[in-house]
Amino acid sequence: MKMLDRYEEVVGPAEVQRLRQLAARLGQRRIVHVNSTRSGGGVAEILGWMIPLMQELGLNASWEVIEGSADFYRVTKTLHNGLQGLPIILRPADFDLHLENNRENARRLNLEADIVFVHDPQPAFLPRFTPKGKVGRWVWRCHIDASRPNRSVWKHVEKAVLDYQATIFSMAAFTRPLPCPMFLIPPAIDPLSDKNISLSEEERMETVRRLGIDPDRPLLLQVSRFDRFKDPLGVIAAYRLVKPYQPNLQLVLAGGPADDDPEGSEVLREVMDRAGQDPDLKILLLPPDSHRTINALQRSAIIVLQKSVKEGFGLTVTEALWKGKPVIGGACGGITLQVHDYHTGFLVHSPEGAAYRIRYLLRYADKRRRMGRTGHEFVREHFLLTRHLRDYLTTLLCLDDPGEGALVA
């Protein structure tokens, strides 16, 4: 069975047919995506499904990955953080290393194409070092919130962006003024991935029991890194405010271990201290490939929280909505695009706000179920990978025929 056929079962044959019709208007366009890794991280995950789906749609799509030394990846990790506005220090030699690496990769990679999508800042300088005429159009796909970057990092990255004909950001709030068009394509989830696919009841129950969670009692869940921006202490505070009214309530905070992140380790210590000896409050440190475990936890929760105070798009919210769970989320970033009061959950601004909404949702099972159904349909309409792919195809058509008026393709 082809990949697209499997998605037909989720989004319906008409949606997949529309993708085929849009793609047919692009012919056998040669498209190359370039990023910095073939596995691990959100971008590699997206390209992992996007390349084969584009190929199935008849586009001549391929995926190139830049190579670099450990020192290069140290520099680009710092650039990545700086682009998100974290305080960083980079020396002129670090910026030079970035340029030099991209010069070498431009020589090595097969970039001959009608359109090259360059993902994130690591390969951003490829256009500068690629012979003119080899690439029809360059498009920079920035997956990061670049709205308030570190100044020195932005000065560096901005020079690269000048060589692009267009950019793509996930949300308007993540952009900065640039001289080329800034298309908007929100991210999406793959409904057939291990993280989101339907699980058997046996697997779900086996997972929660293995983790020491009582499947018969209500479970609150937050899945996120142990990071101050995700406000895990605020989640614990909200849980404690509700617990006297719902003594059987359980809370799970699930995230990855923070071995290589000093600040993450510190936050994790504070979270552990705050959790104390409460047997109903579990901190789970899961390996990065625990997709099915996360899936089972999300399906077992009665309410999912994402009480961030600063957030990117918040795909954990999308995942929870897809599983029919109401979400209580911090009013920031992409959470505000997904959580709509009384429709898919509630936006909150404090632990007290979260506690109030938890009590409300625990009290009204019918509203909880209705929000769950609405959230599931909302994600089906707006945040599945078929929509993501459709947006890419639409962008490609726009690049072919720039203008303002309606385009009949």
Binding site: A14, E15, Q17, R18, Q21, L22, R25, F169, M171, A172, A173, T175, R176, P177, L178, P181, M182, F183, L184, A331, C332, G333, T336, H340, H343, T374, E377, F378, E381, H382, R390, D391, L393, T394, T395, L397, C398, G403, E404, G405, A406, L407, V408, A409
Partner: protein, 226 residues
């Protein structure tokens, strides 16, 4: 009666672009309305219907919603919610009404309303990319059967976009139904639907209800929607 081509069903997608500016307060919004390209006004006043999903969404355009949710200016939100851009001959006319409304509001306020950080209105421009789905509906019954399964984007293209595309300001559906000699009462009912104040799912339901009422055999629809 002259031969009438079957109805050609189109679908559409929106290509959205950030223009790199945002509004934090009512004065910013006024400035944006004065200077932003028409495509920005079109997006926030009309094409935002394609982002809409929920029933009972209070307002039909982004500007009214932002004034209500982010600025907390309920009076202005109510006024903006009532501006129906499809009743205006041009975007210049819509712009003039909006600017006048906000100038008037600012005139009467002692303090300019601001939003909390994170709730800014990020200005977006958009473009409709329409394409022929290849589906052809040759009879009233075929049309009625297709309606429940039509994508909201097709509805947007044939109802909202059509009002701007066609000089006479009608939707594609009723125009075609009139051409094939459908019941005038059905045609008139479809044209009378206050489409701007409905989200696209509600609009589809209104149309289904109209067909159900006027079709000789309403079971055609029942069979599909059951």
């Amino acid at each position: 009666m002259a031969y009438v081509e079957p109805f050609a069903l189109f679908d559409c997608s929106l290509a959205r672009q950030a223009i790199g500016s945002s509004c934090s307060n009512l004065r910013d919004l006024l400035e944006a309305l004065r200077s932003a390209p028409d495509t920005v006004l079109e997006h926030h006043m009309m094409r935002c219907a394609l982002d809409d999903h929920f029933e009972l969404y209070e307002f039909p355009n982004d500007l009214a919603r932002w004034c209500w949710d982010a600025l907390g200016d309920r009076l202005l939100a109510e006024q903006l919610g009532l501006v129906d851009p499809y009743q205006h001959p041009s975007m210049a006319s819509v712009r003039s009404v909006l600017v006048n409304m906000i100038e008037d509001r600012l005139w009467g306020l002692e303090r300019v309303p601001w939003c909390r950080p994170g709730l800014e209105l990020h200005l977006i421009s958009s473009r409709v990319i329409a394409f022929d789905t290849g589906e052809r509906l040759g009879t009233l019954a075929a049309f009625a059967q297709a309606l429940p399964g039509m994508s909201v984007r097709s509805l947007y293209f044939h109802v909202h976009e059509s009002r701007r595309r066609r000089r006479e300001g009608a939707d594609d559906f009723s125009t075609w139904l009139e051409l094939i000699g459908a019941d005038a009462a059905l045609v008139n009912r479809l044209r009378a639907v206050d489409f701007y104040f409905l989200n696209l799912n509600q609009l589809r339901q209104e149309f289904i209800d109209a067909f159900r009422y006027h079709l000789a055999d309403p079971n055609i629809l029942l069979k599909v929607t059951a």
